[in-house]
Subunit: 213 residues, 2 copies
């Protein structure tokens, strides 16, 4: 075989392998988020006692993230939701992630926001065993997103903060647009929907969904 | 102008008009259904009194359909939903349309079904001011659908019972697949989603959505 035809063969083979890997990388696990709260140090102190720590309950798919044994009550002007799970570890700012449905029950209008973007979001009262905290803002409905490690992102040709679509099969199958791509070395590939979105698409935790772009 | 070129002109013009009309017909109003109950005569008697009639409250978009002043409590093994609206007129079979979210609150698993298809669906207890009725079946999550009159359906080339998709814009924009087409002379063009679906897509009653097929 000539050098030229060998190079062509290697190139063609490499392209075929990348195409297959990329096809596989488009399928990711679905994580469905029920309502939950992230707490900052000061609010943890106020709700669960000075210097208290979150108790590990079970690991979430994203490395280092976990559901805590601790739960609290989220109260709005119209109603309250009990036993809302706290997720760990602690963060720099407290954030309550609720669905639009939960918003009706609480009597608030949580804006659909990317996680961490809480300025001017809805206010709620958090009630723990040792005290309560009134948050003027911090309640959002999380914008759907997909976590990717840099390797998977590169394979797919996707960048951090890009918006793509998510295809779900089944009886209530749908293509959800405006899905935020988040790339970090600390992530594993996983698409996140809230419970309203999962219910609407008839999807559940652990389903395999498809990235479309 | 020759006869032939006149015929061609008329034909071209007609096709252009049909294309424009069809484009317009693809945009329909969205009706968002919150949980509600349809009652049969026997259950109306049991819940609101022998020979009682529904009281008109407001008309729905579909001709002849209305929301009644009457509400009732829907109870499941885990919880209950109060003030659930009754829709009129009475039907041959009682049917409670709830969302998957409502199912969690009630402790039941309503199957996603086309309206009227209630065999083997979830059971609930209905509680009215004059009595209560235990339904062994009748609670469903309504399959999303679009109502069309025969004229609009013909213009679009759509048939009764066909499945199409529905495109919604906005921040949580999506294309929902498996949308049942229902054609009847008694219908006006309107797409129906339940509240979970509307919340997930950030859509509300009266929004204009697009039929895709």
């Amino acid at each position: 075989m000539s050098d030229a035809s060998e190079r062509l063969l290697v190139k063609t083979l490499a392209q075929a392998v990348i195409k297959e890997l990329s096809k596989k990388a488009r399928s990711v696990a679905l994580g469905v988020s029920n309502r939950h709260v992230h707490l900052c140090r000061a609010d943890m102190d106020a709700l669960f006692g000075e210097g208290s720590e979150l108790t590990f309950r079970n690991a979430l798919r994203q490395p280092g993230q976990f559901a805590a044994e601790e739960t609290l009550t989220v109260r709005g002007p119209k109603g309250e939701l009990k036993k809302v799970r706290v997720l760990g570890p602690l963060r720099s700012e407290t954030q309550a992630e609720v669905s639009i449905s939960d918003g009706y029950a609480l009597g608030i209008k949580p804006p659909v926001r990317d996680s961490g973007n809480i300025v001017g979001s809805a206010g709620v009262t958090l009630i723990g065993p040792r005290g309560e905290v009134q948050k003027a803002q911090g309640a959002i409905a999380a914008m759907r997103h997909v976590h990717l490690d840099p390797h998977s992102a590169a394979l797919l040709g996707l960048q951090d903060k890009q918006r793509i679509s998510l295809e779900l099969g089944g009886k209530r199958g749908a293509v959800l647009n405006n899905v935020l791509v988040r790339v970090s070395p600390g992530f594993l590939p996983e698409a996140h929907l809230d419970l309203d979105e999962a219910n609407a698409a008839g999807a559940k935790n652990g389903d395999i969904v498809r990235l479309v772009f």
